[in-house]
C-alpha cells in the first residue's frame, strides 16, 4: 500500500514537471497554404519562402511599416546626404553610384561564425554567375564590383544611377563558409545542391531569430530559437509552420486547435475569411490589410477593338467597382485608381476619375462607332459585335466571382463578355508570356514600394518570339511618353522632382488605361486573441520580418 502511494506521488510529480515544462516552452503554430519550393533565400521568389525566410534570415535592407528603406543587417543606411552613397562617373561616360555599407558588428551565423564582407562578396558571385539559375540576376548584375574595406565594411559599385541605390531587400546573404564549396564544385548544379535544401537543419544557414530544426517536405517546417541571434530576443521558443494547401483543412485545423493562426500572406481568400469572421469573429482576431497586390485586367492592345482608347475608358466607366467591393468584399478591398498603391508615398490621388457612369460609357462607345444594338450587344455599322474574351486563373474563386460580375455589368452597356479560364500553370507559364490572350486577362501584379513599372509598361519589355518571350508588358503598351517617364524616374534622385514624375506617370496610366485597374487585394489575418505584436506591412515584406515582436498578451 505504501509502495503504491509512493508510485502515485512519483507519477504525479513526473506529470507536473512535464506539464510545467510544456508551459514554459512557448510554441506558436502557424498554418499557411503553400510549401516553399526551396529555402535558399536567393533561388526562386515565392511567398511561402519569403514567409519562412523572414524568421530565419534577414535582408541587407528592407522596407519598414512606413514603407521607408531601413537597415536590417547594416548599421546605418547609406544615403547621398550622409555620404554613404556617392555619384561617380564611369568610363563610358554614364554615371554610376558608390554605396558603402557597414555590417552590424555582433552579427553571426547560427553556428557562431561571424558574418563578414566575404559573405557579401560570395552572395554576389553566386548571384551574378550566368549558370547559377538565381532569380533576380538583374539585382546582382547592376553591381559592377565590390570593394572590401574590412571584415564588416564594403562598397557596392553600381553601374547606373538609380533612386533605389540603397534598397537591397532581395540581397539575402549566403553563408560562404558552408555554401562556397558546394557552389564552386558545380555552379550549374548549385540550384539543386544548396545546403538550404540538402541540409536544411544546419544551424550555420540561419541569420535570423530562428533556425530550421526539422522539416517534412510538403507538410511542416519547425523553427527553434537561433542561439547566435544578436537582435531582440524573440518571445516564442519554437515556431511550427504547417502547410495545408486545402483551405477547408486549414480552417478545420485552426478550429480544432492544431494550429494557432492562419497567416495573412498565405491563408484564406477574402471570401472565406469574411465568412469565417461571421461565424467565429468572437473567438479570433480577424483583420484585413490591403497589400501591394494589384488585381487588374490586362488588355491586349493588339486587339483592334481595344486599341481604341475610348472603348477602354468606356469599359471602366461601365464597371461599378465600389459596389463590387462592398457587396463581395464588405469594403475590405479598396478600388485601385492606377497601378500605384494609395499606401505608397508617390501615390497620386488626382488622376482621371472612373466612378461608375454607365451613361458616359455608352456615349463613349457610341462615339467609337458601336452604336447598333442587336440582341443587347453593340455592333459597328458593318456588323462587328462588341465582344471580348476574358481569361483568368481557373480555380481562383474570387477572380471567377469578379468575372461573373464583369459579365453582367458590361452586359448593361451592350458589351458581351465570354469567359475562358485556364489553370494557373498554363496561364502564367505560357498564355500571358506569349501574349496568347486575345482580349483580356484578369490577374494580379505583386510589387514593392515605389517600384518602377519598367517590365510591365516600357515598350522594350513587350515579349516577342524574337526576344525569347522575355518581359512582362503583356498588353503590348507602347507609349513614348511612358517610356520616357520610366527612364527618367529611375535616375531621378531628387525626391520632390521624382514625386512630380510619378504623378505624371499615374495620370498618363489613367488616361491611356493599358490595363483596367480593379482592386488592391487584401490579406486576411486570422490570429488568436492572445497574440500581440504582429503587424501587417501592406507591402511584400512579410510580417515575419518582425517575428521577434510577436508575443502572448499578458493575462
Amino acid at each position: 500500500m505504501r509502495f503504491s502511494m509512493k508510485l502515485v506521488v512519483l507519477l504525479l510529480t513526473a506529470l507536473l514537471s512535464v506539464s510545467g515544462r510544456t508551459a514554459l516552452a512557448e510554441t506558436l503554430t502557424i498554418g499557411i497554404t503553400q510549401y516553399p519550393s526551396t529555402l535558399n533565400p536567393n533561388i526562386d521568389s515565392m511567398l511561402a519562402k519569403s514567409y519562412v525566410n523572414g524568421m530565419t534570415t534577414r535582408p541587407l535592407t528592407h522596407y519598414d511599416h512606413d514603407w521607408q528603406v531601413t537597415c536590417f543587417l547594416c548599421r546605418n543606411l547609406p544615403t547621398l546626404e550622409n555620404g554613404g552613397a556617392e555619384r561617380v562617373s564611369r568610363e563610358e561616360g554614364r554615371d554610376g553610384l558608390k554605396v558603402t555599407f557597414q555590417l552590424k558588428e555582433e552579427l553571426e551565423w547560427g553556428d557562431g561564425t561571424p558574418v563578414t564582407s566575404e559573405d557579401v562578396v560570395f552572395t554576389w558571385e553566386v548571384g551574378s554567375h550566368p549558370d547559377s539559375g538565381i532569380s533576380n540576376a538583374e539585382l546582382y548584375r547592376r553591381i559592377e564590383d565590390i570593394t572590401v574595406h574590412d571584415d564588416k565594411t564594403f562598397t557596392f559599385h553600381l553601374d547606373r544611377v538609380t533612386f533605389a541605390y540603397n534598397s537591397f531587400a532581395d540581397y539575402r546573404l549566403l553563408p560562404a563558409h558552408i555554401e562556397r564549396e558546394i557552389f564552386e564544385e558545380n555552379p550549374a548544379q548549385y540550384r539543386n545542391r544548396t545546403a538550404y535544401d540538402s541540409d536544411p537543419a544546419n544551424p550555420g544557414l540561419s541569420l535570423g531569430p530562428y533556425r530550421v530544426s526539422d522539416l517534412e517536405p510538403g507538410a511542416r517546417i519547425t523553427l527553434d530559437r537561433n542561439e547566435h541571434w544578436s537582435g531582440k530576443e524573440p518571445y516564442f521558443d519554437r515556431i511550427v509552420v504547417r502547410i495545408f494547401e486545402n483551405t477547408t483543412a486549414l480552417e478545420a485545423n485552426l478550429l480544432s486547435g492544431s494550429i494557432d493562426m492562419i497567416a495573412g500572406e498565405l491563408g484564406l481568400s477574402i471570401d472565406q475569411a469574411l465568412a469565417f469572421a461571421e461565424r467565429h469573429g468572437d473567438s479570433y482576431d480577424v483583420s484585413f490589410k490591403p497589400g501591394l497586390i494589384y488585381e487588374h485586367i490586362d488588355l491586349n492592345l493588339d486587339n483592334p477593338i481595344l486599341a481604341d482608347r475610348r472603348v477602354r475608358q468606356a469599359l471602366l466607366y461601365g464597371l461599378d467597382r465600389q459596389a463590387i467591393n462592398e457587396q463581395l468584399f464588405q469594403g475590405e478591398q479598396p478600388v485601385a485608381l492606377t497601378s500605384v498603391s494609395p499606401l505608397d508615398w508617390v501615390f497620386e490621388e488626382d488622376v482621371p476619375d472612373y466612378s461608375y457612369d454607365p451613361e458616359k460609357a455608352i456615349t463613349l462607345l457610341e462615339e467609337a462607332g458601336w452604336s447598333e444594338v442587336r440582341d443587347g450587344v453593340r455592333h459597328t455599322a458593318d456588323g462587328t459585335p462588341l465582344r471580348f474574351e476574358i481569361m483568368t486563373t481557373a480555380g481562383n474563386r474570387t477572380r471567377e466571382l469578379i468575372q461573373q460580375v464583369l459579365q453582367s455589368q458590361w452586359q448593361a452597356i451592350g458589351v458581351e463578355l465570354v469567359i475562358r479560364n485556364q489553370p494557373p500553370r498554363v496561364l502564367f507559364a505560357e498564355t500571358l508570356n506569349q501574349r496568347e490572350f486575345n482580349a483580356m486577362a484578369l490577374f494580379a501584379w505583386i510589387s514593392s514600394p515605389e517600384s518602377v513599372p519598367r517590365t510591365t509598361l516600357h515598350s522594350e519589355e513587350i515579349p516577342t518570339e524574337a526576344n525569347g518571350w522575355v518581359g512582362q508588358n503583356f498588353t503590348g503598351f507602347a507609349n513614348e511618353r511612358m517610356d520616357d517617364l520610366i527612364d527618367r524616374i529611375e535616375v531621378k534622385l531628387d525626391r520632390d522632382k521624382r514625386r512630380q514624375l510619378w504623378s505624371e506617370l499615374q495620370t498618363l496610366y489613367a488616361e491611356e488605361l493599358p490595363a483596367l485597374p480593379l482592386f488592391w487585394r487584401a490579406n486576411s489575418f486570422i490570429l488568436p486573441n492572445w497574440l500581440e505584436g504582429l503587424q501587417a506591412t501592406g507591402h511584400m515584406g512579410t510580417s515575419t520580418l518582425w517575428v521577434e515582436d510577436w508575443h502572448r498578451a499578458a493575462p
Binding site: R220, N246, R425, N433
Partner: protein
C-alpha cells in the same frame, strides 16, 4: 517457378520502359518548359539568359536525344530533382510511397474485414433478406464517387462532429497519424468493399456448387468445416486475382482521397506535380506507381499459386 518469375519481371521492365517513353513524350507536350517557368518567375531575365538556360538544361536538343539522356541518367541512378521541393525526386517520393502503401493496405484490410463475413453470409443464404441487402449495399459502394464520399465524411465527422481532423498527415506521432488516417481510409474502403463483396459472394457461391462440397456434405462434415476448410480457400483464388488487377484502380482512389485529405502520398504528389509544372516529379512518380502496381500483380500471381497448388508456373 524461377522461369515464370523471370518472364514476369522482364515483362514488367518492358512495360516500365514503354511507359517512361510515353510519359516523357506527354510531358514534352505540357505547357511551359522549365525555362519558361523561370522567365515567368523573374521578369528581369534577358533573351540571352533564356537562350543560355535552355542550352544549359539541354532543352534545345531534339526529343529523342533528351529522352536518351534522361534514360541513361535514370538507369545510372540519377532520377533528377523536383522543382517543387528542390530535392532529388526520390527523397520526396520514397517516404510518400510509404504513406500511400500505408493508406492502401489499411483500406484493404478494412475492406476485407467487412466484405469477407458479409460476402459469406450473402453466399450461404442466397435470396435471403440479408443477401439482398448486402448485394444492394455492394452496388451502392461501387457507385459512390469516392471524392464525394470524402467530402461527406469531412462534412459529418470533421465539420459537424469534430471527431477527426479534416486533413493533413499529423505531427508524426503514431496516435496522430492514426487519427488522421481514419477518414481517408473510410473513404478509400467504401468502393473496394463494394467490389470485394460482389466477388466474394459470387465465388463462394460458385465454390459451394462444386462436387467436393457435395461429397463433404455427404460425409457429414459440419457446414462450418466445409466452409472454412475447403470452400473459402478455393473461393479466394479469383478474389486475389481481382484484387491484384484492381491495384491500379485502388491507386486512383488513393490519389483522389489523398488530394482531398491532404495526405502526403504518391497520388497527391503526382497530382500536385502536374498542377505545379514539376514534370520530373510527375514522371518519376507515375513510373514508381506503375512499378508498384506491376509488382503487386506479380505477387498476386504467386499467392494465387500458393492458394491453388494445381497451378503450374510455366
Amino acid at each position: 517457378m524461377g522461369a515464370f518469375l523471370t518472364r514476369r519481371l522482364l515483362e514488367a521492365t518492358f512495360v516500365l520502359l514503354a511507359m517512361s517513353f510515353l510519359i516523357y513524350g506527354l510531358i514534352a507536350l505540357m505547357p511551359g518548359d522549365p525555362v519558361d517557368l523561370m522567365i515567368s518567375a523573374d521578369p528581369n531575365l534577358s533573351a540571352a539568359d533564356a537562350q543560355r538556360l535552355k542550352a544549359l538544361y539541354g532543352l534545345d536538343r531534339p526529343f529523342h536525344e533528351r529522352y536518351w539522356n534522361w534514360l541513361t541518367a535514370a538507369l545510372s541512378g540519377d532520377l533528377g530533382y523536383s522543382r517543387l521541393f528542390a530535392v532529388p525526386v526520390t527523397d520526396v517520393l520514397l517516404p510518400r510511397l510509404g504513406n500511400t502503401l500505408l493508406l492502401m493496405f489499411a483500406a484493404l484490410l478494412v475492406s476485407f474485414v467487412i466484405a469477407l463475413p458479409a460476402g459469406l453470409l450473402a453466399a450461404r443464404k442466397p435470396g435471403s433478406t440479408a443477401d439482398i441487402s448486402i448485394n444492394l449495399l455492394a452496388f451502392a459502394g461501387l457507385s459512390l464517387p469516392s471524392f464525394w464520399m470524402a467530402i461527406l465524411l469531412i462534412l459529418l465527422f470533421a465539420v459537424h462532429l469534430g471527431w477527426f481532423p479534416a486533413g493533413g498527415t499529423g505531427d508524426g506521432s503514431i496516435g496522430s497519424t492514426l487519427q488522421h488516417m481514419v477518414l481517408p481510409v473510410m473513404a478509400l474502403s467504401i468502393t473496394s468493399i463494394g467490389t470485394l463483396l460482389r466477388h466474394i459472394r459470387a465465388s463462394v457461391r460458385e465454390a459451394l456448387r462444386q462436387d467436393y462440397v457435395r461429397t463433404a456434405r455427404a460425409k457429414g462434415l459440419s457446414e462450418n468445416r466445409i466452409l472454412y476448410g475447403h470452400v473459402l480457400r478455393n473461393a479466394m483464388i479469383p478474389v486475389v486475382t481481382i484484387l491484384a488487377l484492381d491495384m491500379g484502380t485502388l491507386f486512383g482512389g488513393a490519389l483522389i482521397t489523398e488530394t482531398i485529405f491532404g495526405w502526403l502520398g504518391m497520388g497527391k504528389t503526382i497530382y500536385d506535380a502536374v498542377m505545379g509544372n514539376d514534370y520530373n516529379l510527375a514522371l518519376v512518380g507515375l513510373l514508381l506507381a506503375t512499378g508498384t502496381v506491376l509488382v503487386a500483380n506479380i505477387l498476386a500471381d504467386l499467392v494465387y499459386g500458393w492458394l491453388d497448388p494445381r497451378i503450374q508456373y510455366e
